[in-house]
């Protein structure tokens, strides 16, 4: 029996070491796999960025930024599209921000969290946040551009529809931000005799600003890069001037890129790349702004 046990022990030892061996190999394979995934994702991105910047280099100058659209690739520019984007996105962002914060405050502070109503509204908002943007475009075409409001294919139509599109995202992020404010802050305020409104106005909202700002700027970035609903809403291919009011016609940066990219003449591809760089820089600037706001007003409890 003793010899058998010894043999068994030896056997089991070698077995153990071989198991450890395969486990370590698996570990290494897993690590290599992770690096490979990172490389593929990052490599593709870097390649795309470098390619775009190199292609864009010849057109990235003040002439391109200040020129208006043109049927000739040499003197085309994006001023109208740039200001069109600002005219559409800035009001959309501001109005949705206001509505989103009000909704979030109401849902977080005034409605019982476990009530049926709260559950119903939350479910709807989350569903809306996942609706494809083209659906908002069709909705806008039927009810804002035509139908009930009949605003036509103007800046205010586009602004309202983009506002509706980013509203659910903003509500969700604002709610998260408000929920993250510790309840001790509220209890302290109430203990000192403040009313509900004073508590929200002076304690909860200031504490939630970083989260709200980050969420809404990301929402605005999305609106800035959106093209599908605006195609439905008649964003134009050729506009010879900057918009001067909310009932003007418009074009936006993503559509300018789309138009350039689908032109037959090869020279337009350089303009497309340059417009992409401008849009990227604009988006990066917005994201940077979000980071700065978050860092400036970050508090630790």
């Amino acid at each position: 029996m003793t010899s058998q046990t010894l043999a068994e022990t030896l056997d089991s030892r070698s077995l153990t070491s071989s198991v450890v061996g395969t486990r370590q190999t698996k570990d290494i394979f897993f690590l290599v796999g992770l690096w490979l995934a990172l490389l593929i994702a990052f490599g593709t991105l870097i390649t795309l960025l470098i390619d775009t910047f190199v292609t864009a280099r010849s057109r990235l100058n003040t002439d391109f930024l200040t020129a208006f659209p043109s049927p000739f690739p040499e003197d085309t520019g994006i001023q109208a599209a740039f200001f069109g984007s600002l005219w559409v996105v800035v009001p959309a962002g501001l109005v949705s921000l206001f509505v989103a914060v009000c909704t979030a405050v109401f849902l977080e502070e005034f409605v019982k969290q476990d009530s049926r109503f709260a559950g119903f509204v939350s479910l709807n908002i989350q569903t809306l946040a996942g609706v494809p943007s083209i659906v908002f475009g069709i909705l806008g075409l039927a009810f804002v551009a035509r139908g009930a409001l009949a605003w036509g294919f103007t800046i205010r139509t586009a602004s309202v529809v983009l506002g509706m599109m980013i509203l659910p995202i903003m509500i969700v992020s604002s709610r998260e931000a408000i929920r993250a404010v510790p309840s001790s802050l509220r209890e302290g305020a109430y203990a000192l005799g403040s009313t509900r409104w004073q508590c929200i106005r002076r304690q909860v909202l200031p504490a939630a600003i970083p989260g709200i700002a980050t969420g809404s700027i990301l929402g605005i970035s999305r609106a800035l890069g959106e093209s599908a609903p605006l195609i439905m809403l008649g964003a134009l291919a050729y506009v010879s001037s900057n918009p001067a009011g909310f009932s003007d016609y418009y074009t936006v940066l993503p559509l300018a890129i789309f138009k350039y990219a689908t032109e037959a003449q090869v020279e337009f591809q350089y303009a497309a790349a340059a417009a992409i760089v401008v849009l990227l820089v604009l988006m990066l600037a917005l994201n940077l702004l979000a980071i700065i706001i978050r860092d400036r007003s970050r508090k630790s409890w």
Binding site: T62, D63, L65, T66, A67, F68, P69, S70, P71, F72, E74, D75, Q79, F82, R146, G152, F153, G234, L236, A237, Y238, V239, S240, S241, Y249, K259, T262, E263, A264, Q265, V278, V281, L282, L284, A285, L288, L289, I291, I292, D295, R296, S297, R298, K299, S300
Partner: protein, 382 residues
């Protein structure tokens, strides 16, 4: 408040980034507005093409006009065109003195778009920024849908208005005038290495017709099946997507019905896809506008067409005189009761006075003198 390390740095970067975007824009928009006094022969920039400037002689107070034009070579499409101000006699069509601001909105065919974009650009320069025109790209059918709902004043079309569209316009009480603005030819193209030079319309019909009893799949799988004795092998087809006016026109030319076409081909709204596809494939055949064919002559070879009376070369002259089998007129439709009708008349008069120049620059086949005459009479009656 917790200070985060590196905060100063990030805000500086943000300022630089924002400044890099906005400063050139703001500076540029001021700089472009101011123009110094010019005289005949001065150089101008491409973006000022067609711009009119007034020159007043300080002694005699007499007024002359100069216009920014192409000064080297005859064409805008020369290798490196140069631009300079040249003396012009002010015509009725030059609306440098227009006092009312124009905001004309048009929509419609992507085929007519380049033509109207060139016209809009020149009109904008000529009116020194008063004549603003915006152009949409909904396609001929989409353009008419908006036009007959009263949402646009002008509709660009690569075919005449259809009976259903006429009914839609009539239902909304919209009356309109059709104006011929250019001639367009469709080109049938093959790879430059393809030995074929000329193709009969009947052969094209055989090539593109859907087989009976199938759901639109074509019967001709090889070149030999459509063209007797051809040994090139497999047939690879490229064409326009079913939403485009080019698709309608091609089918009308080939099958005499705008919706008849086989469906098993590479369909695209972007003619450049066809150019690249045919350039890469020796056995491919495709079609698109003649303007594209002229521009891409090095990559694709345009075939001569034979509608029964011999092979006819695909060129401007044959499109204008109608001997080429696939030539089509391009129209704009103007709403008679448009609020801006006065300015639309000015724009169209400007267009027709400069139809040759605009057609050339937009790579279209310009109108003949007789066609301009007819169109002018129509515009005058608006």
């Amino acid at each position: 408040m917790k200070l985060v390390h590196g905060e100063k740095k990030s805000s500086l970067v943000a300022k630089i980034v924002v400044a890099a975007i906005f400063v050139p824009l703001i500076v540029g928009s001021f700089a472009s507005g101011a123009s110094a006094a010019v005289k005949s022969g001065d150089n101008c920039k491409r973006r000022d093409l067609f711009r009119l400037e007034k020159i007043t002689n300080p002694k005699t107070k007499s007024v002359t006009w100069v216009r920014c034009m192409v000064s080297t070579g005859s064409s805008l499409h020369a290798e490196k065109p140069k631009f300079s101000y040249q003396r012009v006699a002010l015509r009725q069509a030059d609306y440098r003195t227009t006092t009312t601001k124009t905001e004309i909105r048009m929509d419609g065919s992507s085929t007519v778009y380049p033509l109207m974009a060139v016209a809009a650009k020149y009109f904008y320069s000529t009116t020194n920024g008063l004549g603003k025109i915006s152009i949409g790209l909904s396609g001929t059918g989409g353009g008419f849908e908006k036009f007959c709902k009263g949402e646009t004043d002008m509709s660009n079309a690569s075919r005449a208005i259809s009976t259903t569209e006429i009914a839609a316009c009539a239902a909304k009480g919209i009356t309109y005038t059709e104006v011929l603005v250019a001639n367009d030819g469709l080109a049938v193209v093959v790879n430059p290495s393809n030995p074929l030079k000329c193709i009969k319309m009947t052969e094209l019909k055989e090539m593109w017709k859907p087989a009976t009893g199938t759901s639109g799949v074509g019967s001709a799988k090889t070149w030999g099946a459509a063209i007797a004795g051809n040994t090139l092998g497999d047939l690879k087809l490229y064409g326009a997507g079913s939403d485009s006016g080019t698709f309608d026109s091609f089918n009308t030319f080939v099958h005499a019905k705008s919706t008849t076409s086989r469906t098993d081909y590479q369909a695209t709204e972007n003619d450049n896809v066809t150019v690249q596809g045919v350039a890469a494939d020796k056995t491919a055949l495709g079609y698109y506008g003649l303007s594209y064919a002229i521009e891409n002559a090095s990559k694709n070879k345009a075939l001569q067409l034979d509608k029964g009376a011999g092979c006819v070369e695909a060129n401007n002259a044959n499109v204008q005189n109608g001997t080429y089998a696939m030539s089509r007129p391009l129209y704009v439709y103007v709403k008679n009761t448009a609020k801006e009708i006065g300015n639309i008349k000015k724009f169209l008069t400007f267009y027709l006075d400069n139809a040759q120049r605009i057609g050339d620059d937009a790579l279209f086949v310009p109108l003949t003198a007789a066609q301009v005459g007819v169109a002018k009479a129509k515009v005058a009656s608006l």
